[in-house]
C-alpha cells in the first residue's frame, strides 16, 4: 500500500473510532434513560411522587388478573420476581396480555403504592413454535 493510501486509511480508522466513541459517550450519558420502563424493584427504591408519569414493566403474576364483570376495569400484579406492583387499569387489553407474559404499563403511582395505568402494552418473547410443540413442551414441564 502506498504512503498516501496508508494515510487515508489511518484517517478513516480515526473517523470510525471517533464516531464509535461519540456514540458510546452519548449512550453512557443517557444510560438509564435508554430503558423503556422501570421494574417494580426500581420503582420501590425510587420513592416516586404520585404525579410522575412513568412506564413500569415486568411479568404478569400467575393468578393475579381480576377482571370486573360490569366494566373494563382490571387489576393485576406485575412482578420482576423480587418485588410486586399492583396495577389498576380501565380499558381494552392487547391480545397477547396473559398471565406469566411480559407487559409494559404507562401511568402513575397511587398514594397507596399501587399503579394507575393509562396504557397497557403486551411484550412477546423471541420464541416461536407451532401450537402442538408448545403443548408438548408444557407436558414436559
Amino acid at each position: 500500500m502506498n504512503p498516501i493510501r496508508k494515510q487515508r486509511l489511518y484517517a478513516l480508522v480515526a473517523i470510525l473510532i471517533g464516531s464509535l466513541l461519540a456514540t458510546w459517550l452519548v449512550i453512557s450519558a443517557l444510560s438509564q434513560n435508554m430503558n423503556l420502563f422501570y421494574s417494580p424493584t426500581e420503582i420501590k427504591v425510587a420513592e416516586l411522587n404520585e404525579n410522575t408519569l412513568i412506564r413500569a414493566g415486568g411479568m404478569v403474576k400467575t393468578g393475579s388478573i381480576i377482571k370486573d364483570t360490569n366494566s373494563l376495569n382490571v387489576v393485576f400484579t406485575v412482578t420482576d420476581y423480587q418485588n410486586d406492583l399492583e396495577i389498576n387499569y380501565e380499558g381494552i387489553l392487547p391480545d397477547l396480555f396473559a398471565e406469566n407474559a411480559g407487559v409494559v404499563v404507562r401511568g402513575n403511582l397511587n398514594t397507596d403504592g399501587s399503579f394507575k395505568a393509562i396504557e397497557v402494552l403486551a411484550k412477546h418473547d423471541e420464541n416461536y413454535m407451532p401450537p402442538e410443540v408448545a403443548k408438548l413442551m408444557q407436558e414436559d414441564l
Binding site: R5, R8, L9, A11, L12, I15, L16, S19, L20, A22, T23, I27, M34, N35, L36, F37, S39, G57, L93, P94, D95, L96, F97, V104, E119, V120, L121, A122, K123, H124, D125, E126, N127, Y128, M129, P130, P131, E132, V133, A134, K135
Partner: protein, 247 residues
C-alpha cells in the same frame, strides 16, 4: 488473479458488460427463491402458539430489517474503498445502494408497526430498538440528500463515503439495543451462541426469504448501478457505441 479481476470489475465498461451476462441469472434466482420463501412462510409454515397467524409478517419484517443494516455496512465498505483507492465504481455502488437500503429500512419500520398494533397494542413506542432503527433511516436520508446537493459526482461520492463511515456506529447500537436496555421489542431469535428459539419448519422459510431478499438487493443494485454508469459515462465512446451513436 483476484487482483486482476477486481481491477477489471472496477472499470465501468467491463463491469457493465459482465453485469449484462449475470443479470438474467440474478433475476431468475431472486424471483424464484424469494417467491418460494414467501409462499412457504406466508401460507404453509405452521401458526404460532401465541401469536397465531400475525407472526407471519416476520417473513417480511426480519429480512427487511437485516437488509437495512447489511446494506448500510455494504455502503460503508464501498465508502472505505472509495476513499482509500478512489475506485470510481465504489462511489457509484454506494450511491446506487442508498435508495434500496432506505426502502428496506422503511419497510422494516412499517411492517414492525403493523405487527406491533395487534401484538403489543401500539403502532409505535420510543424504545431503544425502534428509535435506533429510525435514526438509521434518517442517516440514509442524510446520505441521499448530501449526495444530491453536491454537483460534482466524484466529490459527492467522497463526502457520502465519509458520512457512511461515521454513520456505521449506529449498526452495533441497533443490533445490541435489545440486550443492553429494557425494550418492548423482543430480543433476537437468532444468535450465534445458541440454537434458534424457533421451530425448524418456521425458520427454514425465513432463511429462504432472507437469501431471497439478498438476491433481490443484488438485482436492484446491479440495475441501479448500470443506470448510474451510463449516466456518468454518457460522454465516453463506449457508451455512445453501446447506444448506437444516438447520444
Amino acid at each position: 488473479m483476484i487482483k486482476k479481476w477486481l481491477i477489471e470489475m472496477g472499470s465501468p465498461p467491463l463491469f457493465y458488460k459482465w453485469s449484462t451476462k449475470i443479470l438474467p441469472w440474478l433475476f431468475i434466482s431472486a424471483i424464484l427463491i424469494l417467491g418460494i420463501g414467501l409462499f412457504w412462510g406466508l401460507l404453509f409454515a405452521p401458526t404460532d402458539y401465541k401469536q397465531g397467524d400475525v407472526y407471519r409478517i416476520l417473513y417480511i419484517h426480519v429480512p427487511s430489517a437485516i437488509l437495512g443494516q447489511s446494506i448500510f455496512m455494504f455502503m460503508a465498505f464501498c465508502g472505505f474503498i472509495n476513499v482509500i483507492w478512489r475506485a470510481k465504481i465504489s462511489g457509484m455502488m454506494l450511491k446506487s445502494a442508498a435508495p434500496i437500503g432506505v426502502s428496506f429500512t422503511l419497510l422494516a419500520l412499517v411492517t414492525g408497526s403493523i405487527w406491533g398494533k395487534p401484538t403489543w397494542g401500539t403502532w409505535w413506542v420510543w424504545d431503544a430498538r425502534l428509535t435506533s432503527t429510525l435514526i438509521l433511516f434518517f442517516i440514509y436520508a442524510a446520505l441521499i440528500g448530501l449526495h444530491s446537493t453536491i454537483e460534482d459526482k466524484t466529490k459527492a461520492d467522497r463526502a457520502v463515503s465519509i458520512l457512511s463511515i461515521v454513520g456505521l456506529a449506529i449498526i452495533p447500537v441497533i443490533k445490541k439495543s435489545v440486550d443492553w436496555w429494557q425494550t418492548l421489542h423482543q430480543p433476537s431469535t437468532f444468535t450465534i451462541t445458541s440454537s434458534p428459539s424457533m421451530s425448524p419448519d418456521m425458520y427454514q422459510p425465513l432463511l429462504l426469504c432472507l437469501i431471497g431478499f439478498y438476491l433481490f438487493f443484488a438485482l436492484l443494485l446491479t440495475l441501479n448501478l448500470r443506470n448510474e454508469i451510463l449516466e456518468r459515462e454518457r460522454t465516453k465512446n463506449w457508451v455512445k457505441q453501446l447506444l448506437g451513436g444516438a447520444g
